[in-house]
């Protein structure tokens, strides 16, 4: 018996892609990839109902390993593309993925303005603390002094304080997950996708090939679910402290969330009271009213 798509609940198998995975053994991307599928299914979203936008990097090689309307773009540019997609059709959830290399170097301006604009999208940072796909160069999140490919003496620049930067931008949602805990990532991703504004989700990700300093075991020993420990995401001071102080233990979970703030689209005066999406509004318009003043 055929059941209409809209009444059938989504299954993880709908997200199955026949394209084989090509990540290294032990890569954190496997865990993130799995959690994304779980989160979408648990939110009752079929592949045709979502838009997944990938930046360039190892994570981006996952763009054809999952179903859904996907986009795989240029290095560092995923946030504005995803924002444009979302603003055109507010009915489709848009999730953007990017690595620490692209996001905190070539695309850092887009990140800053993405958070500042509070676009109604989810951004998932795959943080493996290096440029994996270009064979292990230092990113701006790699610890200073760490020898990497193209910096055999260690990088001279100091490490960018990524969470301090994020919190300086008045974010509305900040979360952190670990690629070794699929259940925790699933919970975070579901909350992020349901968030009304720009949801910044950092996933600490093992890179067994090039990251020999923050390994799977290193992260496993230090990460903990801060929400299980009683952290209230409404507490900005505590959220910021948990986000930035990662020397001994690494706080994960939903670190910060502010829900009352209108997102970018809600702030657009011309769109208030408009029920349709920009996609639905494409037609020929009579513009004679607008040229009256020019006569």
């Amino acid at each position: 018996m055929n059941i209409a798509l809209q009444t059938r609940l989504p299954a993880v198998s709908e997200y199955y892609s026949e394209t084989k995975c090509i990540w290294c053994d032990g890569c954190g991307n496997y865990g993130i990839w799995t959690a994304v599928k779980y989160a979408l299914v648990e939110l009752n979203l079929h592949p045709w109902q979502v838009c997944l936008c990938y930046d360039v990097g190892c994570h981006g090689n996952g763009s054809d390993k999952i179903e859904g309307y996907r986009f795989h773009g240029l290095h560092g540019r995923v946030i504005p593309f995803a924002a444009g997609a979302k603003l055109a059709n507010m009915k489709v959830p848009v999730i953007a993925f990017g690595g620490d290399g692209a996001t905190f170097s070539e695309g850092i301006g887009h990140l800053v303005h993405g958070v500042r604009s509070n676009y109604p999208i989810t951004f998932v940072l795959h943080n493996n603390t290096n440029y994996g796909l270009t064979t292990g160069q230092a990113s701006s999140l790699t610890p200073q002094g760490q020898p990497m490919n193209t910096s055999p003496n260690g990088i001279p620049e100091h490490t960018l304080a990524s969470m301090d930067l994020i919190f300086s931008l008045n974010p509305t949602f900040v979360a952190r997950g670990f690629s070794g805990d699929i259940k925790l990532m699933t919970r975070i991703l579901k909350a992020a996708i349901q968030h009304r504004g720009f949801a910044f989700v950092e996933i600490l990700q093992a890179c067994p090939t090039y990251n020999h300093f923050a390994t799977h075991e290193y992260l496993l020993d230090r990460y903990f679910d801060a929400n299980a420990d009683g952290h209230d995401p409404g507490n900005l001071q505590q959220a910021r402290a948990l986000a930035t102080q990662v020397q001994d233990r690494i706080a994960c979970g939903i670190l910060y969330q502010r829900e009352k703030l209108p997102h970018f689209y809600d702030r657009l005066i011309p769109r208030q009271g408009v029920e349709t999406t920009c996609v639905e509004e494409v037609r020929k318009y009579d513009v004679s009213e607008y040229w009256k003043e020019l006569a």
Binding site: L5, Q6, S17, T19, P47, W48, Q49, C51, C53, V56, N61, S63, D64, E67, G68, Y69, R70, F71, H72, G73, L74, R77, P80, F81, A82, A83, G84, A85, K86, L87, A88, N89, K91, V92, G109, H110, V112, H113, Y265, L268, I269, P270, R271, V274, T277, C278, V279, E281, V282, R283, K284, Y285, D286, V287, S288, E289, Y290, W291, L294, A295
Partner: protein, 614 residues
């Protein structure tokens, strides 16, 4: 053709634009065709700026270097612009006790110029009016010199101050005062030809406004841009209309962002637009390459100004043709079209979006500072003509159900154009993949696939080129269908080839009394890439002389023509000083060539085929 010109000069911010705008509108409403041209430096206050109006009772779309009336709002105008007056011209100024230097006194005598001092401060004091009203006084006096009805100017100013009664009364008194001012020389008037009332119902519109209206008409629902002259007036105009159009308007953090936002919005399925200039377009070019790979229809406006680098921000050029036709990584199909005036600034917006969606390619629409900011007298637009054609977009629910992921980038699709459907559609999904990919968007670097997909994307240019309209041929000012003249037996004395804003000026030149009856043909290119050359090649064989007319140093259209068909055009009228072609200047260049056109049968071809043995 009878034409007069009036130039208002002064410091930026002094009000030259408001005087120019009121007089332009007044003349238009009285039945004259007006063409407005602004020159100004890249600063906000000060500097020397000008607003020139050229008017006629016939269609006019160009500016002369010499003027009938000079209105100088400060003494710099008296120092800098005296040379521009025609024989018998009028200088109107407001500088008390100005002493002209010796060479200007000589010039005034030689050209029988009439110099009128307008005591603006005395009148303002008498009326108890603030300095800002000096523009109204001057406007009213200029209006009286033009022998025009005072009520026209009163109703124009009245519209502006309808809701501010006290201000309105003061403005009306200033108009009466300025209009009735009697210079010591006695009544002075500038002769205008009888009006053609047809122009009264026209619009006075800049190219940017026309393009903005065209974009809204074409169904553009999202605009993202980063300010850069001369593309900024389009952003401003779209933003001014946003509460009426209910469009999403985003001032992005840079050009890369603007291009990406627009690309994301187009991928999702709306119509979205961005515009920039020169180096701003350099920043957008990586996104152009991306859209080629994911076959995402997009439209970019490239508003040209002189470069390299920041160049001359507020001046004009046609130096961006090769940039538009060839920038960005990889080989792919694109379309480059150019606006020429306020008519096609409107008409070409739906055309650009239709082409983008029909072929799933990027379309680059060229304009320049001249078109963007010039003021045109424009017949109200035909709102029936344009169609919205979304190409092979699938929206029908049943058809969507039948789709396979591999339909999206099917390399065997007819003409290389495969089916497209939008995120959120209940259908099989696909990946818009920036890496080389197979038919469903999965990465595939195999030799066979790479070849097939490359051929798919580039095959589109054949259909595109075959479907593009032919260049427009005009003969002695009359527009004729290329086909009518293409095979006609007459020999062409001079065949000129141009594109963009050059076209209108050349049309005015061909209408001049000086060239009446000459067998001059002008071939105007709107669709520049892919480039159709068959019409040109046929005309070239019948032309005694060929000349290329462009506002750049290299003759960029000439380079593309030679690349495409081998026709080399050594004779070029080129301009690259930041100014548009001026009517009288281009006229004399054309006349020089007509005078030296070889007699029929003389063995002196003005062109040759590259590589042909001579």
């Amino acid at each position: 053709m009878f034409r007069i010109s009036l130039k208002i000069v002064g410091a930026s911010g002094q009000g030259i634009n408001s005087i120019g705008a009121i007089i332009a509108k007044g003349l238009k409403r009285s039945g004259y065709c007006v063409f407005g041209y602004r020159e100004y430096p890249s600063l906000i206050k000060g500097g020397h700026a000008s607003y020139q109006l050229d008017a006629s009772n016939e269609r006019i779309c160009s500016t002369e270097t010499k003027v009938n009336v000079l209105v100088a709002l400060n003494h710099h105008g008296l120092e800098l612009n005296m040379d521009e007056l025609k024989q018998g011209g009028i200088v109107l100024h407001v500088t008390p006790a100005w002493q002209f230097p010796e060479h200007h006194r000589k010039l005034i005598a030689e050209r029988s110029l009439r110099v009128i001092y307008f005591p603006v401060d005395d009148i303002l004091n008498r009326l108890g009016a603030k300095a800002i009203l000096s523009n109204v006084l001057l406007t009213a006096f200029v209006w009286s010199m033009l022998d025009q009805d005072i009520d026209v100017i009163k109703s124009l100013v009245g519209e502006k101050f309808a809701k501010k009664k006290a201000l309105l009364e003061l403005n009306m008194r200033c108009i009466d005062e300025g209009y009735s001012f009697n210079p010591e020389q006695g009544t002075i008037s500038v002769a205008l030809p009888p009006p053609d009332k047809g122009f009264a119902s026209h619009l006075l519109i800049t190219g940017s406004q026309a393009m903005g209206l065209g974009a809204v008409h074409a169904g553009v629902r999202l605009y993202a841009g980063y300010p850069m002259t001369p593309s900024s007036p389009l952003l401003s105009f779209i933003a001014e209309l946003e509460n009426k159009t209910h469009m999403v308007v985003k001032q992005a953090e840079d050009e890369i962002t603007a291009a990406q936002i627009v690309s994301g919005a187009m991928y999702m399925g709306t119509r979205a637009l961005t515009a920039t200039s020169g180096v701003g377009f350099d920043l957008m070019s990586e996104t152009l390459s991306l859209n080629a790979m994911i076959e995402n229809p997009t439209v970019f406006v490239l508003a040209q100004r002189p470069g390299p680098a920041t160049g001359l921000p507020t001046w004009t050029a046609q130096g961006g043709l090769l940039q538009a036709a060839s920038c960005s990584a990889g080989e792919f199909t694109r379309c480059v079209i150019s606006l020429s005036n306020s008519q096609d600034a409107f008409d070409l917006m739906p055309v650009a979006f239709n082409l983008a969606e029909q072929y799933q390619i990027s379309v680059i629409v060229l304009t320049d500072k001249h078109i963007a900011e010039a003021l045109y007298t424009q017949r109200p637009y035909d709102l029936e003509k344009a169609e919205i054609d979304r190409g092979r977009l699938v929206v029908d629910p049943e058809k969507l159900q039948a789709l396979k992921s591999s339909d999206r980038f099917d390399p065997h699709a007819q003409g290389g154009v495969s089916l497209r459907w939008l995120p959120g559609s209940e259908a099989a999904t696909y990946c818009a993949q920036g890496d080389e990919h197979n038919s469903m968007g999965a990465v595939d670097e195999s030799s066979l696939n790479t070849k097939l997909q490359m051929e798919k994307r580039l095959r589109k240019s054949q259909g595109l080129k075959a479907g593009l309209p032919a260049p427009r041929l005009s003969v002695g000012g009359r527009s004729a269908k290329a086909t009518d003249w293409m095979d006609g037996g007459d020999e062409i004395e001079l065949l000129a080839i141009g594109w963009g804003s050059t076209g209108e000026i050349f049309q005015d030149v061909m209408c001049s009394d000086e060239l009446r009856g000459r067998k001059i043909a002008y071939l105007h290119y709107t669709y520049l890439w892919p480039l159709r050359t068959q019409e040109l090649e046929r005309l070239a064989k019948r032309s005694k002389r060929i000349v290329l007319v462009e506002q750049n140093y290299q003759g960029q259209l000439g380079m593309l023509i030679r690349m495409e068909c081998g026709l080399d055009i050594p004779d070029k009228i080129l301009k690259y000083d930041g100014r548009p072609f001026f009517y009288d200047e281009l006229l004399s260049s054309v006349m020089e060539r007509c005078a030296s056109t070889p007699e029929k049968g003389a063995n002196l071809p003005g062109f040759e085929y590259a590589g042909a043995s001579s």
